[in-house]
């Protein structure tokens, strides 16, 4: 089917539209009259493409990123765990003997709390016969003072982060500590007006004290706290030693009571030795 030829009116309309187009082109090129409309269209395009992207692509991308991130984290975690295991294996022997990981902050904290200004040295437990400690009356511990300082430590107080453990009685090739619970150990203690020399009971964590009611008529109560008196100059004063756990009247005038010690020598491997 052939098309109808253009009429004069159509041609005139074409001519008019072409002139109008050129007029628009002229004013746009010379005066930038349509910039606002163009910018409006551009902003609409950018906004709609942004929203469209947020609605359609971004959720999938987000899910993909999360899955990727999760798998990446798992992989990293595995790798770190493996590295840690390798490091542990490599440093196992070293860490057992090394003083590199020693932390003296707890000992320092204890000394500061009890206002002990004397310098101290960190020591590591070398040997401790636990079986003997639990069964027998001789309670000794062998320690190694870190740094090997050239000081005679005999008579020095040995502490851990809980309290006084004992005193050094031998310091030559090795350092021997007499624990408070050893039957040979004596520590002067005080509570209020009660002064007493507490001796080791030979039982773990317990020391005993005997006093005469004729000298100290005041009664002792279960749970009463006793502190070191500092008499004798071996142990520092005003440090909590323990509390009364048991009271026995040996005869009409003498009273024997037991104290549960607050410091357990088995609490940790590291101890503090206060300079004499």
């Amino acid at each position: 089917m052939s098309r109808v030829a253009l009429t004069h009116v159509s041609k005139l309309l074409y001519f008019f539209c072409i002139v109008l187009s050129f007029f628009l082109l002229y004013i746009d090129v010379n005066y930038k009259s349509f910039e606002k409309a163009k910018n409006l269209y551009k902003s609409f395009t950018i906004s709609s493409s942004y929203i469209l992207k947020r609605v359609t692509i971004d959720p999938f991308y987000y899910v993909y990123e999360i899955s990727k991130e999760k798998s990446k984290l798992i992989e990293e975690n595995k790798q770190l765990k493996q590295e840690l295991d390798n490091s542990f294996i490599k440093n196992f022997l070293i860490s057992k003997d090394s003083n590199f990981f020693v932390d003296d902050s707890t000992i320092k904290k204890f000394l500061n709390l009890n206002h002990i200004k004397k310098p101290f040295h960190l020591a590591k437990m070398n040997f401790f016969d636990v079986e003997k400690y639990l069964c027998c009356s001789q309670h000794r511990m062998f320690i190694k003072i870190i740094g090997n300082p050239d000081i005679d430590f005999i008579g020095s107080t040995v502490i851990n982060d809980q309290g006084i453990v004992g005193q050094i009685i031998y310091d030559k090739s090795t350092t021997e500590v007499l624990l408070l619970t050893d039957v040979a150990s004596v520590i002067p203690i005080v509570s209020g007006n009660h002064f007493c020399n507490a001796r080791g009971s030979g039982r773990p964590g317990v020391i005993s004290c005997t006093y005469s009611k004729l000298i100290w008529p005041d009664s002792i109560e279960i749970g009463q706290d006793f502190y070191s008196s500092g008499i004798g100059g071996i142990y520092p004063s005003k440090i909590l030693i323990g509390n009364v756990s048991n009271i026995n009247a040996s005869d009409t005038s003498n009273i024997v009571f037991d104290l549960n010690l607050v410091a357990n020598p088995l609490h940790g491997n590291f101890l503090g030795v206060v300079e004499p």
């Binding site: 030829a5 253009l6 539209c17 082109l25 746009d28």
Partner: protein, 157 residues
């Protein structure tokens, strides 16, 4: 594509403009310019059974001006001129061979490129672009026109 609806043609031109926006920066490195939007509109009015109204071409041209960020009126004028020529010689084209039609469209596209460069890219106006674009467009249209011999469905349509 005969008597394609206005909405469909508008969407088609919009998509063509997007594609043109993507491939034009790549092709221009090889001194090639293919005005896809203009060619699709030209082909639509060429294949139409009826004469195209001047306002129809004018409004389409304005739309393309907006979406392609061209100076307002440039595409409108070119679309109108193309529509006028195609409508005036619609019956004459039936006497032409495919090659002649391809050459006509290539010439039109080169005119479009030259005219648009006068307004958009005058400083870099290049006859090399016009010449290479003419050759490439001619080959492209020949290939497109020959496709119907190799795709039976397109012949049936």
């Amino acid at each position: 594509m005969s008597n394609i609806s206005t909405a469909k043609l508008l969407i088609l031109i919009y998509i063509a403009n997007l594609i043109e926006g993507f491939i034009a920066p790549l092709l221009v490195k090889a001194y090639i310019n293919i005005p896809i939007t203009f060619l699709i509109f030209s082909f639509a009015i060429y294949k139409s059974r009826f004469n195209t109204n001047a306002f129809y071409a004018f409004l389409f041209g304005l739309c393309v001006d907006f979406i392609s960020d061209s100076p307002i009126g440039m595409n409108a004028a070119l679309f109108l001129m193309m529509a006028y020529v195609v409508n005036s010689y619609a019956n004459t084209f039936k006497l032409f061979s495919s090659i002649q039609i391809c050459l006509f469209f290539s010439g039109s596209s080169v005119f479009y490129i030259g005219f648009s460069h006068l307004f958009i890219n005058l400083e870099n106006f290049s006859y090399l672009i016009l010449f290479i674009s003419f050759v490439i467009n001619t080959f492209l249209f020949l290939i497109v026109s020959m496709l119907r011999f190799y795709f039976p469905f397109s012949r049936l349509n």
